[in-house]
């Protein structure tokens, strides 16, 4: 049976587990029809030209994993940023695990989607924001159809979350191949702030496919910093769909660190629905072997006097493939926009590939838009400079690659996270760069 058919019939089984007489379920029923019509994306679609899901869809995925696991904190400690105090919302095979988590309802809500979807006190928020930002497209609709678990975060007016929130999705080998669909909702109200670190990690070598949808609503003057760590095993594939709706004077950023996994696809959309908004999209990709990372971004400027900054750096080794498809849309009324985009890549081996495609659709006449893309090798003069200082070629190369990607880290506002990412980059480059990162 094709995976699509399996999912469609699984929906019937899913309906036996959830309350079908709810507003949410109406959305789900609509969504499964949307998915039935659209199916999975194929390379025939422009946005998927360089990324094929065919191979990863061939596995016989279990859609409803058994709720059994025996994971202790010490087994997974290293996947957390554990040197600072954080809230934690942790799932194993898509199921919430309380003994690994640390949620809160004190001043802010950092808790579970499953309770937000079923408890009446959350209903107004769910009614207002759930499934409102994500476009009704195949993979989003598939996620909506089965949505019942994930992180629910709400920061009320005039509140700064007192510590960062980590959302961690583990996958185990209890099942042969696993399909997981987390659904996260983040609502940050006026004048409020939050920092979120998200990670998906497989604990075994069984194939895992994650189709995650995150909607972020940033109200006036809200500040949201979202960090995504993608350093999974070569058996795990991730489709991350993240959507930001921003309002007046809000400032939102997403940093995506892609260091591992089989196929990683990031669909990241920003919708600017007010004036004087700032959006920042940054990414560092360091991959090798046959890994594939695809960044598909959209910044839609719908109002005047806003800014967006995109900066993606990639280092590709082996026969790995990178894709950067960055779209900037500027509506006719969105005058005085500053939109910057840059995508710089280094190919380490002859068989590594990068497909970089900027797309600008500008309907306003008084805007500043710039985009730049480079693909190259390391600067020979810089290598020579380091070598004349006695630094061996391999180490010199690693140091330069580190330097190449480091400016993306400048804007990371959690020092412990910055340190961890630095360390991961150094490890990925396979060289001790000679100092503590």
């Amino acid at each position: 049976m094709e995976f699509k058919d399996k999912l469609l019939s699984s929906f019937l089984a899913f309906e036996e587990q959830v309350n079908v007489n709810s507003d949410i379920h109406e959305l789900r029923s609509k969504a499964i029809k949307e998915f039935e019509t659209a199916g999975f994306p194929t390379k025939k679609q422009e946005a998927w030209k360089y990324t094929s899901l065919n191979k990863v869809l061939k596995h016989d995925y279990v859609v409803f994993p058994k709720k059994e696991h025996t994971i202790e904190y010490k087994d997974v400690e290293k996947y957390f940023i554990d040197d600072i105090d954080t809230y934690k919302i942790v799932f194993v095979d898509g199921v919430y695990v309380s003994h690994l988590s640390s949620t809160t309802h004190d001043k802010i809500d950092a808790c579970l989607m499953s309770s937000a979807m079923t408890k009446s006190k959350y209903k107004p928020v769910i009614d207002n924001y759930f499934n409102k930002i994500a476009p009704k497209e195949s993979l989003n609709s598939l996620n909506t159809a089965f949505s019942n678990e994930g992180a629910y975060i709400r920061i009320p007016k005039n509140t700064a979350a007192d510590k960062p929130i980590q959302i961690v999705n583990f996958a185990t080998g209890n099942e042969s191949a696993l399909f997981i669909q987390p659904r996260n909702l983040v609502v940050v109200e006026e004048n409020s702030q939050v920092q979120i670190i998200e990670r998906h990690h497989s604990l075994t070598d069984h194939p895992v496919l994650t189709n995650s949808v995150t909607e972020v609503y940033a109200d006036k003057r809200a500040i949201v910093d979202y960090y995504k760590i993608q350093n999974d095993r070569p058996s795990a594939s991730l489709i991350d769909n993240t959507f930001f709706e921003q309002h007046q004077e809000s400032n939102c950023s997403v940093h995506t660190f892609s260091f591992g996994g089989n196929i990683t696809r990031n669909n990241l959309n920003f919708y600017q629905k007010g004036e004087r908004i700032e959006s920042t999209l940054k990414g560092v990709t360091v991959i090798e072997g046959k890994q594939h990372v695809d960044h598909n971004t959209l910044v839609h400027h719908m109002q005047p006097n806003c800014e967006s900054h995109q900066d993606y750096k990639g280092i590709y080794g082996g026969s790995s493939t990178g894709v950067f498809n960055g779209k900037i849309m500027v509506d006719k009324i969105a005058q005085k926009i500053n939109a910057f985009q840059s995508n710089n890549n280094i190919l380490m081996d002859d068989k590594a590939t990068i497909n970089s495609k900027p797309q600008l659709e500008i309907f306003a006449d008084d805007v500043r838009c710039s985009h730049g893309c480079t693909i190259g090798q390391l600067d020979e003069d810089a290598l020579f400079y380091l070598q004349t200082r006695g630094i061996p070629f391999k180490q010199a190369r690693a140091l330069l690659m580190y330097a190449f990607s480091s400016n993306v880290l400048d804007s990371v506002r959690i020092p412990e996270l910055k340190k961890r990412i630095n360390l991961l980059i150094a490890l990925k480059l396979g060289v001790n760069v000679g100092f503590d990162l």
């Binding site: 020979e380 020579f384 006695g390 330097a403």
Partner: protein
């Protein structure tokens, strides 16, 4: 210490060095002067091992050993240091971390352990004072946004940290005001010993007032055409290079 014999080198198809002979002994300071495009900087790059240049004839011996097949880092490990005219910017790597990496890479190549952290800090403090470099400067990204003077001071600071046997200073005076020039020259002078040597490559005689050479060589069209003492530098400053060209043409 350094013995260059009949050195010919080209970049792609362009012949740049056309038979250079030069001998530098421990304890000496040599200066090579010459107009733009005469091959001065190429000579320093070839000695440091830049791959871009192909040696077509001749030999380069350092302490009696042929170094022409060695990588740049191996030459550095033997004690050759090149101060760049245009040092490279390395964002995200602080001056301190960079010199630490370089010092330990050299120690490793010589079979020594990493320098203990406290010893390293002491050395960094001592050498940065020599170049009048303050603490804040050390935590900045290497050469990023540095002024011309800061870049050159940082080059000599690295030289001080690495303590080479032969230091080649390529146009170290370019872009320096008189105060920065004095600091840099003073740093170089205080690093001079009986067992090391300095080769200064420069356009102008100005630097040589501060780093006084034992020998001055003039390079024209890929060759050393005249050698002498420091008085030769003054003569060049006064009369330019044209009289030399004429003199050679007359021969």
């Amino acid at each position: 210490m350094l013995k260059i014999k009949d050195l010919h080198a080209k970049a792609e198809d362009l012949k740049i060095l056309k038979g250079v002979n030069l001998e530098i002994n421990a304890g000496e300071v040599h200066a090579i002067m010459g107009p733009n495009g005469s091959g001065k900087s190429t000579l320093s790059s070839v000695v440091a091992g830049k791959e871009e240049y192909e040696m077509t004839r001749g030999e380069i011996k350092f302490e009696g050993e042929d170094i022409t097949e060695l990588d740049p880092e191996e030459r550095a490990h033997k004690g050759i240091f090149l101060s760049f005219q245009y040092p490279v910017e390395i964002p995200g790597v602080s001056v301190t971390n960079f010199v630490r990496t370089a010092v330990n890479a050299n120690r490793k190549a010589r079979g020594q352990e990493d320098m203990p952290a406290n010893e390293m800090l002491k050395l960094i403090r001592e050498k940065s004072e020599l170049l009048e470099i303050d603490r804040k400067f050390l935590s900045r990204s290497l050469n990023e946004g540095f002024s011309g003077g800061e870049k050159k001071r940082n080059e000599i600071f690295q030289m001080a940290m690495l303590d080479p046997k032969l230091a080649i200073l390529d146009e170290t005076d370019s872009g320096l005001d008189i105060d920065a020039l004095r600091v840099v020259a003073n740093g170089v002078n205080r690093l001079r010993r009986e067992d090391n040597a300095v080769l200064v490559i420069t356009h102008y005689q100005r630097l040589l007032e501060y780093i006084v050479p034992d020998y001055v060589h003039v390079m024209l069209d890929g060759k050393i055409v005249k050698s002498g003492t420091k008085e030769l530098a003054f003569e060049l400053e006064e009369k330019g290079y044209d009289w030399l060209k004429e003199e050679i043409a007359a021969q």
